[in-house]
Symmetry: C2
DNA sequence: TGACTAACGTACTGGTTCGTACATTATCCC
DNA sequence: GGGATAATGTACGAACCAGTACGTTAGTCA
């Protein structure tokens, strides 16, 4: 998530708009993720930056727009990662397991993003709704799922009539919950879902779950 | 979640400590769920109550303790609902499906509770940690899962070595995500996971997923 | 019935926090 | 090199908001 480039001519503390904006976004991401939208402090963000509060308002307008910008960049990182997905050389079963694992890994590697999404949901996705970029961001992962599903259903490996969006929701829910609800779950059930020594266990569990769901014969209702 | 009893002698605006406290908790639950911990306004809670801000501090001490009290009551409601669980007369497969469905229904019926849990996770479960009651609340549902799993594994219907806490996490993640991330998911993928006409679809999907996972033969790793 | 206490109301304060008015400097381009 | 403009810093205001000082009333029990 950190994307502040070193200044072209290092050492010299010259003016650099792009760099200042990136630094603000980095720090704001951490602050919003730490404390939620209303808990986050613009002064705190400014203090942790090499610039001042004035700059935050100069570049981003106000707190709300700053949060939207943070969301936009965070979702942009996701989309970029999803575009790297390459599972076309695998058979459908292996491909869907791989995709699930990559989703799992990505959630684990970006807990701040998970928190931002939780926070945005508390605000009824109002910032996404007001962002042109986010309203049309799309999801490469969804296209990949669609392709794998088609192939799996065509070859008869997968049960028919499973929808790509639904499967994406299924995979995401497991990955998301594990990170987002880590604290309450840990406090109530005494188990840390994100403990490193449990990582492989839950990664395999997710894959097993998705494959089992896709390959099971349904008992007619 | 609403539990304010009508006053014994209706009409008369007499003093009633229990009733005042319950009303504060009702309104506070909605306000915290609406806006998050820091977004919630004590003045707003007071305004929506038939009493004053003074009473909130009189009974609950401060905002933090009020939120903790809200959480305690919300989790208490869950525990009570879980104690009603009665699936012992069903075979393991039907029992676990029924349990999943009841969990599904409960999440759908209590969106405010879901939001409170999301909010509490943003605060790293600090309030649960500081609450004696919540630290030891337990989970009747977990006991039920344990019993069903044992029976299913004993009779060979279920794959061995599935842990009750893990299965609970799996079921919860699907139910929780569907409600908690409804807004961002809807905004990004154009599908309302909580749309009434999709309800049965997702309910069945959850059951299918859990059963498939529990009855699938694992491919040795 | 009267005194004691739990329950309640009003009005305020002190600190916090978003946002800005105003002043200044670096950099780019002609 | 000088004018224009983008980028930056300082200091402050106004509103908001958690929490409280102080005063009042209803119920209860001796």
């Amino acid at each position: 998530m950190t994307s502040v480039d070193e200044p072209a001519r290092s050492g010299a503390r010259t003016r650099d708009a792009a760099r200042t904006q990136a630094e603000i976004l980095d720090v704001a991401t951490r602050e919003f993720a730490r404390a939620g939208y209303d808990g986050a402090r613009v002064d705190e963000i400014a203090a942790r930056t090499r610039t001042t509060k004035r700059m935050i308002y100069y570049y981003f307008g106000n707190k709300e727009q700053l949060f939207t910008a943070v969301l936009e960049r965070a979702y942009g990182v996701i989309r970029e990662a999803e575009q790297e997905l390459d599972v076309d050389h695998l058979d459908p079963v292996a491909a869907i397991r791989r995709l699930a694992e990559l989703t799992f890994d990505h959630h684990e590697r970006h807990p701040d993003f998970i928190r931002l999404v939780s926070i945005e949901n508390i605000h009824d996705a109002a910032h996404i709704a007001s962002s042109e970029m986010l309203a049309s961001i799309g999801s490469p992962a969804l296209d990949v799922i669609r392709r794998i599903l088609e192939e799996g259903q065509r070859t008869g490996l997968f049960t028919a009539d499973v929808d790509a969006v639904d499967l994406h929701a299924m995979i995401s829910s497991f990955c998301f919950f594990r990170v987002a609800n880590r604290h309450t779950f840990g406090a109530l059930f005494g188990r840390d879902l994100v403990a490193p020594e449990q990582r492989e266990h839950y990664r395999a569990m997710l894959g097993d779950m998705v494959i089992a769901y896709l390959t099971a014969e349904r008992t007619a209702g």
